[in-house]
Symmetry: D2
């Protein structure tokens, strides 16, 4: 059944596979009058692109976003915005082995059980490359949010077991991992290099912060802002956990510590992470996503073939050692898409004329 | 905007407020032929009900579910199933203070900003009492799942900073918290009593496990099974974090540890939590939800009134010390609703006649 | 699958059966701040109610609408509005025959094929009584529309083969059929009396006109205003055809006749029926619905039993001779629901801050 | 707001403008395992294409459908199917006049009021060229329906005021209008030639018949099969009326004539048009759509400019004289899309294991 759309008023539908003709997104419900050009996508697509940072896959993919429809003379018209990113000609032959074997930690097994007929080349629809379409859609969402002063920033707060212990925004700007704690950076880099040397991969945590979000976004009780954000972040391949504000820390807290006192100048703490009762409260929104180690590793793994017979698999080819930092713009994009949708939705909250 | 429905094929819409006439759910898309009676709801409603366990609110609310429509001669007809739980006459006068003051940690402030006009009595729509409708809908969802041998069970794996270190299902049956580790139980109880004595509250973690779930449930890429489950769990009031399988543990792991090897007898570990690429893989589904301490506490708190002037608030009345264990049937119900929906959705995954 | 909801932002879900406990509607997405009381429903419910006019079923059903949730101190709160209409105790025994026989022209046969298990009492879910919930929801929709000066009125333009040839609004107010042509009224009444005497029933046409609708409502290309209105009207049991503006007349027209010239004072004709390209143009919206004769007649009809054996059926009991005029408030309600939804949707059409 | 998707399980989203880069459709929810190739689209695209029949626009547009995603080794994978039809380089300069003037009978005026910023070239999003994407999606829908023996055929039953009086399927195959009445064909052709000579256009009626549709499709009460079909047909630009079965004829009928008697061999008439209570009854589905004369005519028309000043407009360029017969494959495609969706939806109607 249809599961490739997200959002109600700002509705994004993505398509495409890793080694097919390309990927894309259709954004339905983007208001008319938003200025947008193909150049606007370059920065975010570069952030997500492999090969632009050390430790990344070396494959060269320019990932240019082409606007197929919905923009006229530099501005959206209210018609669906179709965005397309062509795939470069890539060699699918290394993936022929997947015609018979399932990769542990990948969707190969579950997709096979579900669909029977699967495009296995490069992971097909389940590839991380699918997220290019999300990033592209996120660029449009941000245009809408920026007009209201809403800003979204991701930080690497853990990598390979090394945890950041503070959020220094300026520090984050100066390193490839957007690590907000200069004291943790070196440990993170070492963890990554060690894993790489071992043909292995590592996981981490990304924290996404939203500043400038007005109070009143989120639709109780099932489309609460935190519920929609959690679902959106969890829909990104490598994510295995999502937190809002104090997150799992609340398990060891008392109400008197965890409640955020309200003062004439605002909340005096932010354990809520900017969301109360599923509705934004005007404070900074704080989200965290647990990112699992990339399952494609250059080490021998036990698996079975499509007939269920035991087999062993050792992937060659160039893989990232960690989904971080390439996953940062993806997570930011998902947050942007959800917020743009809820910003539009919030306009119907109160009765008024016109 | 409309946010009170969840699910696509098995679609649940809830309504009602804490101190209004009652609560209810309309289930649209329940197949015809499901045997159901009003007695079927009693067990789960009792589990959620206050006053049935030590430490709980002492208020007496029978919470009988009335079937208003959709059932004829003991079986569903395919027409919408409307369920209703009447509110007993309760005294709203203790809540008059909320006409002027916001409770820290509650939805009062954000609802006011969003809607302007709010039913504050007992928290109104944002009250935990809203979850009675979810539990009722979950009972119907379970009926569909049971036919396929799918079973859902929640456990308290942390309470007041005390963590369970094993899952002993038999042990869980024998205590009021469904704590699966007898060694942790006493500590949990002590934490709860201490907080209660202090007029304070505590948080915890609930783990929900699903056995018998077939491979193939979940719709990539935005309605992945884990994404929908995460959203559904996060939509429950007190939840501030959600994990699948290894969850936030992955941040410190390597791919070689975290990948679950595949053998002819199944997966030899379950870090994935039963979901790969957003699709169930046939293994046990493992979810965890972080439950914040109940924000209603009998201690003085700083807040503001609706004019923004500083104020102090000390709640009297009887409140639970922890949302656990009453939240367990609610979380189980949310999992059941999502799985029933995806079970029906999975029937359109492959091309076939008829 | 779920089919009992209509609308995206103003979303109405109905439930209930003819001889069950009652009927109802949940309206999700009604903005906060709309003044509404149970008295507000009386007028429209009376218009739809049987026994209030000559020729109607004589059964006495007060059809009082009870507001179960979503209203506090006389105004909506943004929470779902649940409305309920209880069924009076009615005798279902005359319907026992339907346990074995299908009524021609009714849903009995197709429901049986679809669901296997059907509540046949009084037609169950397929009964015209289901429309009480639509009328109730329409009352709330009208509240939103009225604030913008949008008015909806239905007229009987054909009955039993007698056609009105003009729209005299004042004349329509003065007769039970809302027939806008005094010259046609007598013929209509005669046709109805004759059919009634014969134990037969008659069909007709209802024209619904919307004045005060602003330009800009409707969402190309599948949720065009005329598309949504056509679907909504066709969803009413007896309706077999829907027209907008010139309707089927266009088949014999030329473009030069059918195009509405535009002048500085507006359109100089209204063949478009107030909708161009699926978007309202500010002119009066003109819709027509063909209403089939009520299939329940006191004449012997050929049918089969549930085993497919030939049978004959002669319905006793009291039935209306025509769905008109009771269907008028139902059709108006459907138009109101669609317009309220599109009025809210139209607020996201253009980019703006906030 | 998002209005460019149709269907719930088989969900089609279209994009593109007349003079932009191209048009396309994303089909989400197409089951895996459907055989499809780019050649499969050629026949239907040719039927819709201008210049392939006398009286049509002479512009040459091959309209080749490119499959961008969702198909692997000749079969669908369950991933979204993205289809694209490139626009040939066309001269938009004749449309410069629309920068200032509204065309009567077109969406120019209402789009301007709604969106403020409109792509006027060739009608932009509101152009009939948008329907290429619908036809392409319909080809995929038909693949699903064909497996169950469901066949959809459109006929021209009225053109320029000349009405067919019988349905001779063989006769329809042998003429360019799919006119099923050889006796009416000459009159239709004459009407068309006369209008063409006058620089004018004509309207007509298309009847669509569906054979082989099983009983049980359609979801009461708002997603009834006739309601969804009516909405889908009305969403096609030129359509101003929709009928099911006897349609507007019912206004002059009695119940005893209009009810279809049921016999052991099926229904002995088909006034219902194959749908009872919104659910297919296994009989042939009969639909009719009123098609207005093309508003683009080579005659002078009164209009206003964007400042509201009176103006006169005479369109040059080559336009069709009638939307028929090119609209036939479009209407068939809409019926196919709705039926494919409901075929998948019908699989959840009854409770069963697995």
């Amino acid at each position: 059944m249809a599961g490739n759309s997200i959002g109600e008023l700002f509705r994004v539908t993505t398509f495409g596979e890793s080694h097919g003709r390309g990927l894309g997104a259709v954004i339905d419900g983007c208001p008319s009058g938003v200025s947008i050009s193909e150049e606007d996508f370059v920065f975010e697509m570069e952030r997500r692109r492999p090969g632009t940072r050390p430790f990344d896959t070396q494959r060269e993919e320019p990932d240019r976003v082409e606007i197929l429809s919905g923009v006229f003379e530099g501005k959206t018209t209210g018609a669906p915005l179709a965005l397309r990113i062509a795939n470069q000609d890539v060699d699918s032959s290394p993936y022929e082995i997947l015609r018979t074997l399932y990769r542990p930690g990948h969707a190969d097994f579950s997709y096979e059980k579900k669909y029977g007929h699967v495009d296995f080349r490069g992971g097909g629809r389940s590839s991380a490359r699918e997220t290019t379409a999300r990033v592209a859609a996120g660029v449009v969402a941000r245009k809408i949010l920026e007009a209201d002063g809403i800003d979204i920033k991701g930080f690497t707060t853990a990598l390979g077991g090394v945890y950041a212990s503070k959020i220094d925004r300026r520090a984050a700007e100066s390193n490839a991992f957007f690590c907000p704690d200069p004291g943790a950076l070196e440990g993170m880099e070492r963890a990554l290099q060690r894993a790489r040397g071992d043909g292995d991969s590592i996981g981490g945590i990304v924290e996404v912060r939203v500043s400038g979000c007005p109070a009143g976004l989120g639709e109780p009780v099932f489309a609460k802002l935190d519920a929609d954000l959690a679902g959106a972040l969890m829909s990104v391949g490598a994510v295995k956990g999502v937190e809002v504000g104090a997150g799992f820390e609340v398990a060891g807290r008392r109400g008197s510590e965890n409640n955020d006192p309200i003062t004439p100048d605002g909340f005096s703490s932010n354990n809520a992470g900017g969301i109360l009762g599923g509705v934004s409260n005007g404070d900074e929104i704080i989200l965290r996503a647990a990112v699992k180690p990339i399952p494609s590793i250059a080490r021998e793994q036990k698996t079975v073939d499509r007939q269920g017979r035991p087999a062993s698999l050792k992937l060659t080819g160039r893989y990232d050692t960690c989904a971080i930092p390439r996953i940062l713009p993806v997570l930011e994009a998902m947050v942007a898409i959800v917020l743009a949708d809820h910003l539009l939705r919030s306009r119907s909250a109160r009765f008024r004329q016109g």
